[in-house]
């Protein structure tokens, strides 16, 4: 009995900086069963056709996180992506290195920035020397405490999220989804004694640059859901310290703004978040807007039933967390 195969066309990114003037795409056509993982196909190409094809991989089982790359423009683990659906949808498979990290050769990227961001969040338990852990015995956690980690311990640091993230692409000051998901994991760890400092620090170290576009959550092969944990971190940072940065001031200002009328008061919000200096910076912008859209100067109407909104705020926002 022979297995059904499909004709699989691969267009693979090839580039050796310093030797090649620019990247090129090399085509390989193979007959393979549709369930073949992309990684298996790439290794067949390397071993059968072109031993110079350079890629990272190790476990072949979605544990080591080495083989993340772009497969038809999406950041994925090659070992975990079967060729069949890719071919069905796009007719071919374009293989490129991950984004947001410089190419060393072919599909291998320099991951220094990714690991530097990870290092910055201090990915280890911080212990207060005045409150040492009990010697000679473990620190057991309750099931409820372990549940607070949510999906974050699943992270294999493959960097697919870092590759997919538009904030990483646009701003070197953003730690990236993986580093922040890991930070969350330490902040909620009951053994960690540094979580207050961690929350204070991250407010000024890029937390508020997250766009909550959820591209990381979509890219993650382990369903770590970094964007949702970053949202949790924002709420915890505000609870710890209030609004100290543009981002936290904006979130708090927005919340308070809606309480007044039920709908957003756009011009007031800009004043609240950016302050007068910020507003001056946006003056040209503001004038252009006012000319075409004069109503931005006016406050919106008050919604009917604003008293209900007010009572919801009183019940859930005025009372400290845990006492409602």
């Amino acid at each position: 009995m022979t297995e059904t195969t499909v004709k699989a066309t691969f267009d693979i990114y090839r580039f050796e900086p310093g030797r090649d003037a620019k990247p090129r795409y090399q085509r390989f056509v193979l007959d393979l069963p549709p369930h073949t993982p992309v990684l298996t196909a790439l290794l067949k190409i390397r071993d059968g056709s072109d031993p110079s094809l350079t890629l990272r991989y190790s476990c072949r089982g979605a544990i080591c996180g080495s083989c993340a790359m772009q497969i038809n423009s999406k950041s994925r683990l090659a070992c975990q992506t079967p060729i069949g659906p890719e071919l069905e949808r796009d007719g071919r498979i374009v293989i490129e290195p991950m984004r947001n990290q410089p190419v060393l050769r072919d599909l291998v990227v320099e991951q220094e920035s990714f690991w530097r961001q990870y290092d910055k969040i201090e990915p280890h338990l911080i212990l207060d020397p005045r409150k040492p852990m009990p010697e000679g015995r473990e620190n057991p956690m309750t099931t409820q405490e372990v549940d607070r980690f949510k999906e974050t311990p699943r992270c294999i640091a493959c960097a697919a999220c870092f590759s997919a993230c538009p904030a990483v692409e646009a701003d070197a000051g953003f730690p990236g989804p993986m580093a922040l998901a890991k930070l969350y994991r330490f902040v909620v760890d009951p053994r960690d004694q540094g979580h207050q400092d961690r929350l204070v620090r991250i407010q000024t170290e890029g937390l508020w640059l997250c766009l909550r576009c959820h591209l990381c959550t979509e890219a993650c092969p382990k369903d770590v859901r970094p964007s949702e944990r970053i949202r949790d971190l924002k709420e915890m940072a505000i609870a710890a310290q209030g609004g100290t940065e543009h981002g936290s001031k904006h979130a708090i200002g927005f919340k308070d703004n809606i309480r007044e009328r039920g709908l957003i008061n756009e011009s007031k919000l800009v004043r609240q978040t950016s302050g007068l200096l910020g507003l001056a910076g946006q003056a040209t912008q503001g004038l252009r807007m006012i000319r075409k859209k004069p109503e931005i100067l006016k406050s919106p109407h008050r919604i009917d039933g604003l008293d209900e909104v007010e009572k919801i705020y009183q019940a859930l926002d005025d009372v400290p967390e845990g006492k409602s």
Partner: protein
């Protein structure tokens, strides 16, 4: 069909042209909009950063208003769609539900969780259908290449929103084809517009906006169209900032979803509030060619 119309803040403020175009298109397609002056803001992805349970409760109140009237909710903003849909989901968590009910019950508000949240794009492509829309086209947008720009919260997280593929959506492109335009496929169509950090770090937000516009342009788009008024702010109102961030002119007209549909169904630029845009839409409209006679 009859829907509870949830315009959201921007369509009632600086994006009033979206409200005008929505009403025009719905009238043309026989969609009855029931209005509720009691609806409050969806939270826009900001309130939940400060207080998630409060945000869910505010949206449970909105959803309860539609439920009481026995209507599904029509949204015209990707972010409103995401926030209201996710509120439904968060309410399945017993702890969240108990706290929300604790706040709503004293007000006599009960929400049983039955309200469906439907963005206009979904209503047009699923409930009305692209064939029915094609049949009503009086001015096909032939010659106009349009890059759809979905907006994050209409697509992601896909496993929570249960609609289109987050990476390969096609509803908007199907609709553009039905009204005679040529859809442009580009990576940026499912990317972020940069809006959420326009108040945090404007130069980064604008760089992100500029990249998506550049991408659409590189793939031949004459215009972009978005189902999200927040994307519209970032792409249209702040386009001059995006130009500064990427270092060159962009000159990309940005339509709201119902504006492109309205144009094809015979609305005038005045009906659709096109003069309110910061980037003029005239150059794009001038590219529309009357269909060749068969």
């Amino acid at each position: 069909m009859k829907l509870a119309y949830y315009p959201g803040c921007v369509a009632q403020g600086s994006g009033r042209e979206l409200d005008m175009a929505t009403r025009w298109v719905c009238r043309a397609l026989g969609i009855e909009l029931v209005e509720f002056p009691t609806f409050s803001c969806c939270g826009s992805g900001f309130i939940d950063e400060a207080n998630e349970v409060l945000n869910v409760a505010l949206n449970a109140r909105n959803l309860a208003i539609a439920e009481k009237a026995g209507l599904d909710l029509l949204t015209v903003c990707s972010t409103c769609t995401g926030m209201l849909t996710l509120a439904n989901l968060r309410l399945t968590d017993p702890t969240v539900k108990a706290r929300v009910e604790g706040a709503l019950k004293p007000l006599g508000i009960e929400y049983r969780g039955s309200t469906k949240v439907k963005h206009l794009l979904r209503v047009l492509t699923e409930d009305i259908g692209v064939d029915a829309i094609r049949a009503k086209v009086v001015r096909p947008l032939g010659g106009l290449k349009v890059g759809a720009f979905y907006g994050c919260h209409l697509l992601r997280p896909a496993d929570e929103l249960h609609w289109e593929s987050a990476e390969e959506p096609h509803a908007f492109e199907d609709l553009l084809t039905a009204i005679g335009a040529t859809p442009v496929y580009y990576r940026g169509r499912v990317m972020c517009c940069g809006f959420p950090i326009q108040f945090v770090k404007p130069e980064t937000g604008s760089r992100i906006a500029g990249r998506q516009i550049d991408d659409a342009k590189a793939h031949g788009a004459d215009a972009m169209a978005t189902p999200c008024p927040l994307c519209h702010v970032s792409l249209d109102a702040y386009q001059n900032q995006a130009e500064k961030a990427v270092g060159h002119d962009l000159d990309m007209p940005i339509f709201h979803l119902p504006q492109v549909v309205g144009l094809a169904l015979g609305a005038t630029p005045e009906d659709l509030g096109l003069a309110r845009h910061i980037v003029p839409t005239g150059p794009a409209i001038a590219k529309i060619r009357p269909p060749a006679r068969a």
